[in-house]
């Protein structure tokens, strides 16, 4: 069924609060690095897939076309995909179906975000994600919905904030070993619990930052991948699922859409027991509770059990199931689509044993990356393996 698809190269820029480089330039640097990493050039690329989140950040309408030359897409089959925060991982799925279809043998996957262009603060741009008639007149802040989701999650399962913040402690510390990290820091649970309350139960240090940055991968069919590298990382399964727009009609305590996406990806990958067959995970962590929520949706633990797993140290780099060894969005930064793709890049480096100081202790052969977005509504999942 379709031809096998491998990741053969990866590149990224630093994640920073405000980059001097334009969006096109960020995309260029990540793309150039990804091509160099597998000693390929643009002439060998059949198609380009681009992921980037809301146009309102950059203030550029039809942002895909605008970024195209930076992403190496001049004169090539080129499309942009878009599922809000789920875009970064989805872009790999887009690259996958370009090649698995048999239409292409190589594909560049590029994700860029330049959130700093929006003035004075990117958060205000998020007002426009709400329903224009039934919600925007209430002047919601983006944080509302996440705080309400976190509250529902905590209350349903009787979870303690002290346990949840361990995710932020872990990820920010993991990021100290990431050369591209924006907000890596050794912080304690007390620091987080004492940080400014933004929208209770969400506090300043529970949240990932606003970032600029880009990440790129090179994907290839089996025949090309074997020529380019002796360490291809195979895309074994992909899945995505979008839940109803009526988010106030759903129980926010559990991300069912992530489970649906994970089931689709696991079925394709032949994963029947994710707790044992997945060795490393990069779930989406724009807030600390989200990593936990997503571990549960990915069926890496039971519902409401992820906080205890974190407290027990299982998700540390030297633990049984390393989770966000990159440092995640909480530590490396959150240039939305690029942050999602960074997670797949991290698995690529980890599975090849090239993650440097971030390399996890146990031998890892299969990993899962996941992103999430829209109105707490979409799950995008990729399973990779060697």
């Amino acid at each position: 069924m379709g031809q096998r698809v491998a990741i053969v190269g990866a590149g990224m820029t630093k994640f920073v609060r405000r980059a001097q480089e334009t969006g096109k330039e960020l995309a260029f640097h990540a793309t150039r690095m990804a091509l160099d990493s597998c000693e390929m050039n643009l002439d060998q690329i059949d198609a380009v897939c681009l992921g980037t989140a809301p146009d309102t950040f950059d203030g550029v309408h039809m942002k895909g076309e605008y970024l195209s030359d930076g992403a190496g897409a001049w004169g090539k089959p080129y499309m942009r995909c878009y599922v809000g925060g789920g875009t970064g991982v989805f872009s790999v799925i887009q690259g996958w179906y370009h090649i698995a279809s048999g239409l292409c043998d190589t594909c560049l996957v590029v994700c860029e975000e330049k959130m700093s262009s929006y003035q004075p603060h990117a958060q205000a741009a998020f007002l426009t994600i709400f329903d224009h008639t039934t919600e925007r007149p209430l002047k919601p802040n983006l944080l509302w919905i996440f705080a309400m989701e976190m509250n529902r999650y905590m209350t349903t399962y009787g979870l303690r904030k002290e346990d949840i913040v361990q995710v932020a402690v872990k990820n920010k510390r993991n990021a100290l070993d990431h050369p591209c990290a924006q907000i890596a820091k050794a912080v304690t649970a007390e620091d987080i619990l004492n940080s400014e309350v933004l929208a209770w139960p969400v506090q300043r240090l529970d949240v990932s930052p606003v970032s600029d940055g880009a990440v790129a991968l090179v994907l290839a069919s089996e025949s090309i991948a074997r020529k380019v590298t002796d360490k291809p990382v195979w895309i074994e399964g992909v899945g995505w699922s979008l839940d109803t727009a009526y988010w106030t009609n759903r129980d926010l305590c559990y991300p069912r859409y992530v489970e649906e996406a994970a089931r689709m990806a696991y079925t394709m990958a032949g994963v029947t027991d994710p707790r044992h067959q997945i060795h490393i995970a990069e779930p989406y962590d724009p807030f600390d509770y989200k990593e936990l929520h997503h571990m549960e949706g990915l069926m890496l633990c039971g519902k409401g059990e992820a906080p205890q797993m974190t407290v027990d140290g299982i998700t540390q780099r030297d633990g049984e199931l390393p989770v966000c060894p990159s440092g995640g969005l909480l530590g490396v930064g959150n240039p939305i689509a690029a942050a999602g793709l960074m997670k797949v890049a991290e698995l690529f480096w980890q599975l090849r044993g090239e993650a440097g100081k971030r390399q996890v202790s146990r031998k890892v052969k299969r990993g899962v990356a996941q992103a999430w977005g829209d109105l707490m509504q979409v799950g995008t999942v990729v399973v990779v393996g060697i």
């Binding site: 990866a10 990224m12 820029t13 630093k14 920073v16 609060r17 405000r18 001097q20 480089e21 960020l26 990540a30 690095m33 990493s37 597998c38 000693e39 203030g59 003035q119 004075p120 958060q123 205000a124 224009h132 008639t133 039934t134 919600e135 007149p137 209430l138 002047k139 802040n141 944080l143 509302w144 919905i145 705080a147 309400m148 509250n151 529902r152 209350t155 050369p179 591209c180 400014e196 309350v197 933004l198 929208a199 209770w200 139960p201 600029d212 940055g213 020529k227 380019v228 590298t229 002796d230 360490k231 009526y246 106030t248 009609n249 759903r250 926010l252 090849r352 090239e354 440097g356 100081k357």
Partner: protein
């Protein structure tokens, strides 16, 4: 192309990306162009939301019912998304509900800090199927006393001030 193990991702690799500070802008070290988008819209409310808004003006919360799955839904919609069919009837819901979840928000939508929190909530509306909520605000309540499961009722604007908008309900308060 030739066999290649790939470049080791080690700290000596130079990553692109130059971080700037606000100071760089203030001191004019960085040039930039500015643009305020002229993007204005007037969205047609349509059949379902149009009637929902008319209900607000009349001081009523309206929902729709799907006979097939038996759900009474709010906000109303012209179709049942589960059964993929047009909805069957309109139902007037009650002015009361239960807090499904809430947040105490100290930052406004445009990132201004406030001392007294805005209390956003998902409120399950009485008369609709279980779990059917809408997003709105809570008021006349001590932020520290808000709880999930709390019973609340809609506080409407006076009829003369209502305009057929979600804001015709000022907020919800415990009862």
């Amino acid at each position: 192309m030739r066999a290649k193990a790939g470049v080791k991702q080690t700290p000596e690799i130079q990553y692109a990306g130059t971080g700037l500070s606000s100071k760089d802008f203030k001191e004019g070290k960085i040039l930039c162009t500015r643009w305020t988008a002229d993007a204005k819209y007037a969205w047609d409310a349509g059949i379902a939301i149009g009637k929902y808004l008319a209900g607000f003006k009349a001081g009523k919360i309206l929902g729709v019912r799907c006979i097939k799955c038996g759900r009474t839904m709010v906000p109303p919609r012209a179709f049942c998304e589960w059964c993929f069919k047009t909805v069957d009837s309109w139902v007037q819901l009650r002015n009361t509900g239960i807090v499904n979840t809430f947040s105490l928000c100290y930052v406004t939508w445009d990132v201004k800090r406030v001392k007294k929190p805005e209390i956003s909530a998902v409120i399950e509306i009485d008369g609709a199927s279980k779990g059917m909520g809408i997003m709105h605000l809570l008021g006349e309540v001590d932020p520290n006393k808000v709880r999930i499961g709390m019973k609340v009722k809609a506080i409407w604007k006076p009829a003369a001030e209502r305009e057929g908008a979600i804001t015709d309900i000022k907020y919800w308060k415990p009862y």
